[in-house]
């Protein structure tokens, strides 16, 4: 190649890759090297970017995801072709379902070998097509810059999501002119910035002002849009209580008088009753997932629905709505705010208060001490100890995840990171690493079951190698607890393949030179949490909890939202007998 163009520097595709990542603001990437991505790794030495070496590529994607959710910035994962790339699939699907902005860079075999079933060749753009927001196959060094710019723009704009960029080995190796300015994104069909029509705002306001029993359904979109203050101001001004989805937790302060708590399958009973009694649902950045609606035929039967949502394809997907405001939540609320009238809804709020009924006496926290350690005790104590700090809790999937959502009161956005849509076991540990890298000043706690922990526990080595102070609380009940719970309720207690024979987790932690402890007793919880916080380094805590506890309330799959299985309580039953 000749260097005739002035103003543009000659660089390899690999060099351009890192240069573009830096210009996109990337400071950390999570990756694992291999043959087809080696030219990129060789060029890493010229870059200021810090590379976190993972132990499995799935971990890299969850770390990028955790990084993105903790910071709001795009997370980046790097892997080689073939198995490296396919190992990323679960992490990409997780990010897709929870609208998390990540960019995955994969190496690909040389462009001349594509289609030949070469060593470690996989059609990863084909594989990830339905689980990415968009993906690219780059076969020339000259395409690298524009593709990376487009990938970041697509990942972070509109409804965020994962973007995969597959770069052939020769595209990394060959040189070409690099000109950042000339490599502007060219996306003529991409429309991330929609906004509602004036008449749609008027229709929404009319419904809001006529509603006697409105509820705000607060979703992940609030956090993504950064609309926490707007939602709060809106709720206060209009006097409307706020229920949260799992991923909406933290979008509205738990301690706020208008906060109801979590809705859905394991939501608080009064929240689900409130939704069923409502005459208006204001869905803010949520998508009426089946885990929050229960049976659609009986869902909020008397309620009009306003859906504020950035993704037009979500409108009328699960629940038919009366008014759809398609656009960025923050902008929509700022448009609505001046026209929202302050209405006294104390009657409705009093009614909701009464719905709380016997919930408190059914709460495991308030039941007589049985001498057993319950997961709820651990979570509640953890919350009391860490509530005042800048704490991020990263959970896995299952019973402990629901208990965390119920018993850890989150006041701030991005203080709970959890896999909601895909429900990916193994998410917590790597996602927490990403969160800690993104926010080193924050106190990061992993709350994870004994099943999920073992799916990605190889990343303990990453924690140690990166010297990250991450606290790991294993809620160890010796079962795949949530599956066991379903078997108890719906499969005649046939505990098929749910009991786990576990290693000694404390010894395992020690093998990684991580300070480890086992806690079996309720009185030990607080002192152990304190000791962990004071320790200068990562800590692994193995909480041996009650084996056959269940998460209550529970809306069985397909049941109406108000038909909940409640925790049996001697106190309640005795009162009823009298």
């Amino acid at each position: 190649m000749s260097d005739k163009n002035t103003g543009a520097a000659k660089m390899t595709g690999a060099g351009i890759l890192w240069e573009c990542l830096e210009r996109e603001g990337v400071k950390h990437v999570f990756g694992y090297p291999g043959g087809a991505i080696l030219p990129a790794y060789d060029a890493l030495k010229h870059s200021k970017i810090h590379h976190v070496l993972v132990r499995h590529e799935q971990g890299a994607t969850h770390m990028a995801d955790g990084y993105a959710r903790a910071s709001g910035q795009v997370g980046v994962a790097v892997a080689t072709s073939g198995p490296g790339a396919t190992n990323m699939v679960t992490g990409i699907a997780t990010a897709m379902l929870d609208s998390s902005p990540i960019v995955c860079i994969t190496g690909q075999v040389g462009s001349k070998l594509i289609g030949s079933d070469a060593f470690q060749e996989t059609d990863i753009t084909g594989v990830t097509l339905p689980i990415t927001k968009h993906n690219y196959l780059v076969t020339h060094a000259s395409e690298v810059a524009r593709t990376i710019r487009e990938a970041f723009y697509v990942a972070r704009s509109g409804r965020p999501g994962p973007v995969l960029v597959d770069i052939t080995k020769d595209a990394q190796q060959t040189t070409c002119d690099f000109d950042w300015e000339a490599a502007k994104p060219q996306l003529p069909g991409y429309r991330p910035d929609l906004s509602p029509e004036p008449k749609e705002y008027e229709q929404a306001l009319e419904l809001i002002h006529n509603a006697k029993r409105p509820v705000i359904l607060a979703g992940h979109g609030i956090v993504i849009s950064g609309a926490m203050n707007e939602v709060r101001e809106f709720a206060e001004r209009a006097g409307i209580p706020v229920a949260m989805t799992l991923l909406g937790i933290g979008a509205f302060p738990a301690a706020h008088p208008l906060n109801l708590g979590m809705m859905g399958m394991h939501g608080e009973a009064w929240v689900n009753h409130t939704i069923q009694e409502a005459d208006l649902l204001l869905a803010f950045g949520m998508r009426f997932d089946d885990r929050v609606t229960g049976n659609l035929k009986t869902y909020a039967p008397n309620a009009k629905k306003i859906h504020v949502e950035i993704d037009p394809a979500e409108i009328n997907k699960n629940v038919k709505v009366d008014v759809a405001l398609v656009g960025d939540l923050r902008e929509v609320l700022n448009e609505l705010m001046p026209k929202v009238e302050s209405i006294d809804r104390s009657e409705w709020l009093d009614f909701i208060d009464k719905l709380k009924g016997d919930s408190a006496v059914r709460d495991i926290q308030n039941l007589p001490d049985s001498g057993h350690l319950y997961a709820a005790h651990v979570i509640n104590d953890l919350w009391r100890e860490t509530r005042d700090g800048d704490t991020v809790v990263v959970t896995d999937v299952g019973q402990h995840q629901m208990w965390e959502a119920q018993y850890y009161k989150h006041e701030k956005a991005r203080s709970l990171i959890t896999s909601g849509g895909l429900g990916t076991m193994g998410f917590a540990l790597p996602a927490a690493i990403g969160a800690k890298v993104a926010r080193p000043e924050a106190e990061v706690w992993v709350v994870v079951g004994d099943g999920g922990f073992q799916m990605t526990m190889a990343e303990l080595a990453t924690i140690v190698q990166e010297n990250l102070k991450v606290h790991i609380a294993i809620i160890n009940n010796g079962y795949l607890g949530m599956v066991r719970q379903w078997q108890e309720f719906f499969y005649d207690r046939n505990y098929a393949a749910t009991p786990l024979l576990n290693p000694d987790f404390a010894k395992l932690g020690e093998a990684y030179c991580i300070r480890s402890m086992t806690i079996t007793d309720r009185a030990q919880v607080v002192p152990s949490v304190r000791a962990a916080r004071e320790h200068d380094g990562p800590v692994l805590m193995n909480f041996r909890v009650e084996q056959e506890d269940s998460v209550y309330p529970m809306v069985a799959a397909g049941a109406a939202l108000h038909e909940m299985i409640r925790r049996p309580s001697k106190i309640v039953e005795t009162a009823e007998d009298e």
Partner: protein
């Protein structure tokens, strides 16, 4: 009911797969899909027919727009439009049947494009029901082989393909009558 979408997409590798994959993933059944070049080299044009009710049709449109390479989507189901399908039909036509088949072809304004001792091949262009009609009357003679292109469609009057490349905000007014969001 059968909906007809005209979809303008960037003329890039893999775009057809993205569109087809979307229909499969969202469990919508494609009745027919045709794709070809347009007057602009950077734009390809698809005509997709799919069985969907009104709400489903809106969601298909919204989901198509989520594909980064999709430039413009028009649901022309209820728009005045020209819809054409092309079929080639090979009919068994021995000596005695041949004149009957030729007569039928001429009634349908179809053209005979190949004559062999045992068969005739007929080419017909038209709306789908016209082709269905010809097939119906040829069937008793023995249809040996048949191929159809699937429909291509074009709205009557005003052109919209220019919007597909010139404007970031597609010509929504022309596309969906009352789609519940603005594009």
């Amino acid at each position: 009911m059968l909906n007809t979408f005209v979809v303008y997409v960037e003329n890039k590798p893999g775009v057809l797969t993205r569109v087809a994959s979307l229909f499969r993933r969202r469990a919508f059944n494609i009745d027919s899909l045709t794709v070809g070049r347009t007057e602009k080299p950077e734009v390809s044009r698809m005509t997709i027919t799919v069985d969907a009710d009104r709400d489903q049709a809106r969601r298909i449109e919204a989901n198509l727009y989520k594909l980064v390479n999709v430039l413009l989507v028009e649901n022309i189901t209820n728009q005045p439009s020209i819809v054409r399908d092309l079929a080639m039909i090979k009919v068994a036509a021995t000596h005695e049947a041949r004149s009957h088949v030729l007569e039928l072809a001429s009634v349908f304004r179809a053209r005979v494009v190949d004559v062999a001792p045992e068969s005739l091949t007929i080419e017909i262009t038209g709306a789908e029901d016209k082709i269905d009609g010809l097939l119906e009357v040829l069937r008793p003679y023995g249809v040996l082989e048949m191929v159809r292109t699937g429909i291509v469609a074009m709205r009557r009057g005003k052109s919209s393909s220019g919007d597909a490349v010139s404007s970031r905000n597609g010509d929504q007014a022309a596309g969906g009558d009352d789609v519940a969001y603005s594009v």
